[in-house]
Symmetry: C2
DNA sequence: CGTAGTATTGACTATCTTCAATGCCAGTGG
DNA sequence: CCACTGGCATTGAAGATAGTCAATACTACG
């Protein structure tokens, strides 16, 4: 459109235009126009339990979840761990560490997961920047924990619904992509409370 | 830099370059270069309790807090209200509603507050987009509630510390910019619990 | 001075956490 | 093959934390 991609190509980074990817709609909602600068440089496939990066690592790039599910895990100063967020297809992984230059938490695949890397720099395509900003906006909105201040049962129910919706292709109904302990740490509950809440929900269904 | 500002000027919107604003460092961390497209169109000053927009309003623009403090308040389907977030100088207000086209919560001044409006569109300056993305990144990081899963006392203590840091110019120590009930809703606690926690913290100090 | 909103305090209760024990399952090595 | 181990899930009982209800004080504002 504005010859911007030339500049990127000159930088020497091999890119794959998302317009050529069959899964692009999943990542970008609408299929990008070819040559608009909506492109990724690398794709990684992680097996369950593998990490894209560890907490404290230097910022190593911004990724979009193409398939699967990523857990963001933070180890706190007191040694405790908590799941800060769960990222599902179309969501960004790594943006939190961009400004500070370090990843504030680890990114761990909850199942087989494909990540596509996006080069984020000052001369990126404006189209790309706008799309990323839109994603950041959505994630910011979603980060406002709809279950804050509710009862344990409601929180667990809301979490299960939310995660099922976001991962709808696989039937999450029977197996959550994380352990009860992780769900508990994410919701700020005890593991046993999560177990009991899930039991109650199962009986009700 | 690339004649982009011409295009904007042609659109008929009067802009004020942030490079000419004495408070720009507060908003942008580093002073923007003149002509880089880091600019705002309008500034609004809100008195305590006044709204920038209401929940459900059509998206009306993106703002940066130049001075003061904004509370984001959400009224839930059951009629309850909660403070989703607090925005302090240099932070963005309104981004959450950009993609969906509607503001998901109301923005209310907690004190005398100055907001500067940023025009966010596909042909905005790439410099501006990158800066906004950086802000979104920081806010996303900050949205991961460091007090999740901790005791009521720790949560209140963390909140007071956090808000005091972010508003450090005014001495917040003696008067929080919001009511106990609002703090409570923000932290997912009962008002009385917040009162007691503040009492305990006062005694300890 | 009266009113409305906010803050504080006490007493009681519900919920959630903690502690402890047990079951289940997959992987491993004899 | 089977015992053993470690991680995860489940359940019960007891105790602590925070929520609810209710009364009272404080403050700003007409």
């Amino acid at each position: 459109m504005q010859g911007r991609s030339n500049r990127r190509a000159a930088a020497g980074t091999a890119e794959k235009d998302c317009a050529d990817c069959s899964a692009a709609v999943r990542c970008w909602r609408t299929r990008p126009r070819r040559g608009a600068g909506i492109a990724v440089t690398t794709s990684v496939v992680l097996g369950r339990g593998e990490r894209a990066f560890a907490q404290g690592d230097r910022y190593s790039g911004l990724y979009i979840v193409a398939e699967g599910c990523i857990k963001l895990r933070e180890t706190m100063s007191d040694g405790g761990e908590r799941i800060v967020a769960v990222r599902t297809p179309g969501e960004l992984v790594g943006l939190e560490g961009w400004v500070a230059g370090r990843h504030p938490h680890a990114a761990i695949a909850a199942m087989r997961t494909k990540l596509c890397r996006v080069e984020l720099c000052a001369d990126a395509s404006p189209d790309l920047l706008v799309r990323l900003l839109a994603k950041a906006s959505e994630q910011l909105h979603h980060a406002s924990r709809p279950w804050a201040g509710r009862s344990a049962l409601e929180r667990v129910a809301a979490f299960v619904t939310d995660i099922s919706t976001r991962l709808d292709d696989e039937a999450v109904g029977r197996a959550l992509p994380m352990t009860r302990a992780e769900v508990a740490s994410h919701l700020g509950l005890a593991e046993e409370t999560v177990v009991r809440a899930l039991g109650t929900l199962r009986k009700r269904a």
